[in-house]
């Protein structure tokens, strides 16, 4: 069995969901996503035994494009993140009802397919196609099933679209240039290229635009908050939990090894910009009035730190970035779900209008609290492992990077606890808040269980990710 099985399964799942009809769609999608998760666990076991689960086949003869899918520890970690979060995200939507739900859930599975493809592709053009394909489902999901005023939503979603499109086109041009040098889109061939400093600069910059918008790194983030706010929560989770990791993953997989000298030269600027995002996102989050927007800015701050870790070009920085991607993926999905659970009951996300929930729903309060604590990286959660490793790597580059980036532990605690206080605490709300039901509880418990288990015992993830990062670093320092 190789990774194509997983991709085909997700595609079949999307089609099956589409034909299953609106009533069954969510359940069919959940079933397929769970099978896909089981399959990726199986793939992981094979991978750990040393079996080659990659796949290479010729596709287009001229220009030479290959169907090359490569699985190393990094790819496997990201694939597992995707296939683990997808069923959770689908399950989390069981409390909602969507018009044309068969289309909706088919798009979710299709998006999982495209993202898994992005994480596995080892051929530049194939990768680019997956990268762009992932954008189509989220576009429809946000546009059709989003909330708020239609015109405003359209504006926000299309803006997101134009950004990403524009950025990606630069990347495509970059790939075209690389092909003209290497005569192939294969990752291993691109790694072997000896590019001059000037060439590296242009390639690096072209890729940077695509990734900086996707991640996002300030000042390319302006699409983010509105889209997160307007998209249905499933879409927000897909975007924040998985899709933005495509950008970070690509930095590690494509940008740094292909143009390492440019990365080294601009390292201080890149780290500085990323850390500026940490501070900026945190400060903007302080005064947000909308719960989803607040979480969007917290996400901006967190991914800024991850990006900073990537650009340290050290083993700790890259490993920590991957840990933090996984941790952030889980916690942000959980937090957006908490916002959704509140919205289902109170039909508002305005922080001013909330409050007084704790006295009515102690189960929900506890779970939300733990997620807030994970988000502020309390030791014992996996987020701490990630944040500690990234901050440590920053301190090795320059202690001030760690000090300034480290203010996230103060500012993060400030805006998250303030939010928690205003949303959950205080006198009992006059509106009735029913505690979480079974399907809601399952989503929370799985996420929390994951974060706490790996927070205390991160070794399995280390063992998976570290060798892959070591190889990539060898390419960077070739």
């Amino acid at each position: 069995m190789d990774v194509t099985t997983l991709l085909i399964l997700l595609l079949i799942g999307a089609v099956a969901t589409l034909v299953s009809g609106d009533k069954l769609a969510s359940k069919v999608a959940l079933l397929f996503s769970l099978v896909a998760f089981g399959l990726s666990i199986n793939l992981l076991l094979q991978f750990n035994q040393g079996t080659d689960i990659g796949f290479v086949s010729n596709w287009i003869a001229n220009p030479k494009v290959a169907l090359a899918l490569k699985a190393d520890g990094l790819s496997m970690a990201m694939v597992l993140l995707t296939t683990a979060l997808t069923p959770l995200i689908i399950l989390s939507s069981f409390g909602n009802s969507f018009n044309n739900s068969k289309n909706f859930y088919a798009l979710v599975l299709f998006m999982a397919f495209a993202m898994v493809g992005t994480f596995l592709a080892a051929d530049g053009l194939l990768y680019y196609i997956f990268w762009e394909l992932a954008l189509i489902p989220i576009y429809f999901i946000a546009l059709i099933w989003g909330n708020g005023d239609v015109e405003e939503r359209k504006k926000a979603v299309v803006k997101f679209f134009i950004y990403t499109l524009a950025g990606s086109l630069f990347m495509l041009v970059g790939f075209a240039y690389l092909y003209s040098k290497a005569g192939s889109f294969l990752l291993e061939d691109l790694y072997k290229l000896e590019l001059s400093n000037q060439e590296q600069f242009w390639i690096f910059f072209a890729f940077f635009l695509a990734y900086a918008i996707k991640i996002p790194i300030i000042p390319f983030h302006t699409w983010q908050a509105k889209v997160y706010q307007k998209a249905p929560t499933v879409g927000t989770m897909l975007l924040s939990g998985i899709m933005l990791k495509m950008g970070l993953y690509s930095v590690i997989r494509w940008q740094l090894p292909i143009a390492p000298d440019a990365a080294k030269e601009y390292m201080p600027i890149l780290i500085g910009l990323s850390i500026a995002g940490v501070i900026y996102g945190s400060i903007v989050a302080l005064r947000q009035k909308d719960l989803k927007k607040l979480l969007a800015y917290s996400s901006l701050a967190h991914v800024g730190l991850i990006a900073a870790g990537c650009y340290t070009l050290t083993a700790d920085g890259l490993n920590g970035a991957v840990y933090q991607m996984i941790a952030h993926g889980f916690v942000i999905v959980g937090l957006f779900f908490a916002a959704e659970v509140i919205f289902r009951r109170f039909e508002t996300r305005k922080i001013d209008e909330l409050g007084g929930i704790r006295s009515q729903a102690s189960g929900f309060t506890s779970m939300f609290m733990i997620l807030v604590l994970a988000s502020v990286a309390l030791p014992g959660t996996y987020n701490f492992v990630g944040e500690f490793t990234v901050l440590y790597s920053l301190s090795q580059v320059n202690i001030w990077f760690a000090v300034i980036g480290g203010t996230t532990i103060i500012l993060g605690a400030y805006y998250m606890l303030k939010m928690f206080q205003n949303v959950m605490l205080g006198e009992t709300n006059t509106k009735v808040f029913k505690d979480v039901n079974v399907s809601e509880a399952i989503v929370f418990v799985v996420i929390i269980g994951f974060l706490l288990f790996f927070g205390l015992y991160p070794k399995p993830i280390n063992d998976l990710v570290n060798p892959a990062i070591k190889e990539i670093l060898a390419v960077i320092n070739r």
């Binding site: 803006k159 679209f161 202690i399 532990i409």
Partner: protein, 625 residues
């Protein structure tokens, strides 16, 4: 076997936490409280066992449980170290913890969320044990942040009250400022020595080839961490606010145990601080100033718990003074005696508050001596102890601090002595206003005045006894504590030989304490003075009463600008940035109709661009070949 026992010692309160979180609501309050208490008692008994064992063979017990965090140049396991220092802390944390759990069964009995209270309290003890027993700095950091979390949960225990929630949030955030210092300190140490394990750092430091500037920076950063947790200048303002929590919490967390974590950490890392005299000087000065500033604020507070809170800050300052002078055992000695008498004072104040149905303002107390004799006498004993009256526990430990200060620097000695005189004054002021003269509360309250139940008075009596005899652990002459701690300290602290100078100093300290008492007596008993209403306080008194406006200063300096910046970013910069980047996007995608179509959300056009783009590039590549 020892491994299992050590695990049981650590995990027993955690089991209590799990029980109370998941089943606490289903069982009766008595069972919930009993389980919460018993799990801590188990840890206490095991601590005694390990202590006895250590006393017998003198060998610390160390095990590694599992791999935890791994980075490029080192790997940390989750390890437990039970040596002299950690066992000493364990003994009083779990011992006093048991008493306070017992007390809480009665104190919290009317609260609908009593099981949660015990759950959080158990979780606190678990994290405190983690903090103490770790064999490396990172395990200490788990406990360090964990106790901060429990402190947050317990300060905001009555979560319907938003000012209490504010206090809880403030405590957490200010602690996190310190925690960043701790973290950076760890990073520097890890970079220098490729380890965070105490023993390994110790031997690496001893080899002596580390850059001394970096060592100093590391020590300073760790001290910033200690400032946060142990409420020293400039990070002390959260502790008085933390009095919003139920009184047993104030006694356990904000007086006896958690706030001593900073002292524990500095003592644990003594081999590092010994090599950085500049940082030691900073510690001594910060400690002395904190002691004085907090004591002066305590002079005029009218909330019984606030007085005790400032007193705690002040006493912690004295401990840091001792640490800064390299007198680690002296600091530890005062930590222990302080834990006894301050826990007793807080629990006593809780008994008073309980008796007055929630009243905390001393202006509305008075004359409680007769109605609450046990509370009165136990608090009196503890007050004598904290004031430094011979032969109570506080006399011995505080006296040693003053002697060490005298030996190093006369100015520090004077500052510490003034703080001590103030301590005697405000503590007796507290006693006089609360227990003497006439009752000033309502008739209704007066009618209901009563001594608290046994579960409350028994812990008070035990702690009062300890406040009397606690000094015995390090009496001049025997110096048991000094000898006991010798293995964990690098620089040997010279035990005082009692000479003329020492006796004179003792005499001066004692006279100072008596001056404070007489001063309080003259004002509050002879003159019968009752503090004025808030509005009538004027002049410098008002400045002190308002805590030198430090909170207002921080708000002005940090909180307001931060929020202003946030508003500016949110309302001005964000939309502007959006417009600029959006403008580029529009331009890049072709001005005019094409762009407009894109803006209208035409997905077909996107797909068209996407496919055409790929086709164009492929065609180009094909031709280029």
């Amino acid at each position: 076997m020892d491994t299992n026992l050590a695990l049981l010692l650590l995990l027993s309160p955690f089991v209590g936490f799990l029980f109370n979180i998941f089943f606490g609501k289903k069982v009766s309050k008595g069972i919930s409280g009993a389980i919460g208490t018993l799990t801590v008692v188990v840890s206490f008994l095991l601590s005694i066992c390990f202590f006895a064992q250590l006393n017998q063979n003198g060998k610390p017990f160390e095990i590694s449980l599992f791999d935890w965090i791994q980075v490029s140049n080192f790997k940390l396991d989750f390890g437990i170290l039970l040596d002299q220092l950690s066992l000493l802390w364990l003994l009083f944390v779990t011992g006093i913890g048991s008493l306070i759990h017992l007390y809480s069964i009665s104190y919290m009995h009317d609260d609908e969320n009593m099981h949660k209270f015990f759950a959080y309290l158990n979780l606190f003890v678990f994290f405190m044990i983690t903090l103490v027993v770790g064999n490396n700095l990172l395990v200490m950091f788990i406990g360090w942040e964990g106790v901060g979390l429990c402190s947050y949960l317990l300060i905001g225990f009555w979560y319907k009250n938003q000012p209490y929630n504010d206090a809880a949030k403030k405590a957490f955030i200010m602690n996190r400022i310190g925690d960043l210092g701790f973290l950076i300190g760890m990073f520097i140490i890890a970079a220098l020595f490729s380890t965070l394990n105490y023993a390994e750092i110790k031997s690496a430091v001893a080899s002596g080839d580390a850059n001394s500037a970096l060592l100093g920076l590391a020590a300073l950063c760790l001290f910033i961490g200690a400032c946060g947790k142990s409420a020293q200048l400039p990070l002390y303002t959260w502790l008085p606010d933390a009095m919003a929590g139920p009184t047993p919490v104030s006694a356990l967390i904000h007086a006896a145990t958690m706030v001593t974590a900073g002292i524990f950490m500095v003592t644990r890392m003594n081999f590092l601080f010994d090599l950085t005299p500049d940082v030691q000087n900073i510690i001594a000065i910060v400690g002395a100033i904190t002691a004085l500033v907090a004591a002066s604020i305590g002079l005029l507070q009218n909330d019984i718990k606030k007085v005790l809170a400032y007193s705690t800050v002040s006493q912690l300052g004295l401990m840091f003074l001792a640490l800064g002078l390299g007198a680690y055992t002296v600091a530890v000695f005062h930590v222990i005696t302080h834990a006894f008498f301050k826990a007793c004072l807080f629990l006593g104040s809780g008994s008073v508050i309980h008796g007055l149905h929630g009243e905390q303002d001393m202006r509305k107390m008075g004359g409680l001596r007769k109605a609450m004799p046990i509370t009165f006498w136990t608090m009196m004993i503890s007050t004598l102890a904290i004031a430094g009256i011979f032969p109570f526990a506080g006399f011995w430990s505080k006296d040693e601090i003053l002697m060490v200060a005298f030996g190093h620097n006369k100015a520090l000695w004077i500052v510490a002595s003034i703080a001590s005189i103030m301590t005697a004054f405000y503590m007796f002021r507290l006693m006089y206003l609360t227990f003497f003269r006439e009752f000033r509360g309502t008739e209704e309250q007066k009618h209901h005045l009563h001594e608290s139940p046994k579960l409350i008075t028994i812990p008070l009596v035990i702690l009062a006894v300890l406040a009397v005899i606690g000094g015995a652990i390090n009496l001049p002459g025997s110096m048991w504590l000094n000898h006991f701690l010798e293995p964990v300290l690098v620089a040997k602290h010279e035990a005082h030989h009692l000479g003329t100078q020492e006796f004179i100093l003792m005499g001066i300290a004692l006279v100072g304490a008596i001056i404070g008492i007489v001063w309080a007596n003259a004002k509050y008993i002879k003159q019968g003075f009752v503090p004025k209403e808030d509005a009538e306080i004027v002049g410098f008194s008002k400045t002190i009463y308002n805590k030198y406006y430090v909170d207002e200063f921080y708000t002005f300096l940090i909180v307001k600008p931060l929020n202003g910046l946030s508003n500016f970013f949110r309302t001005t910069l964000e939309p502007a940035l959006g417009k600029v980047v959006y403008g580029f996007g529009t331009v890049a995608n072709g001005i005019g109709s094409q762009g407009k179509k894109l803006q209208n959300g035409n997905i077909g056009l996107y797909l068209f661009v996407f496919v055409i783009g790929i086709c164009a590039i492929i065609t180009y590549l094909f031709i280029a070949q």
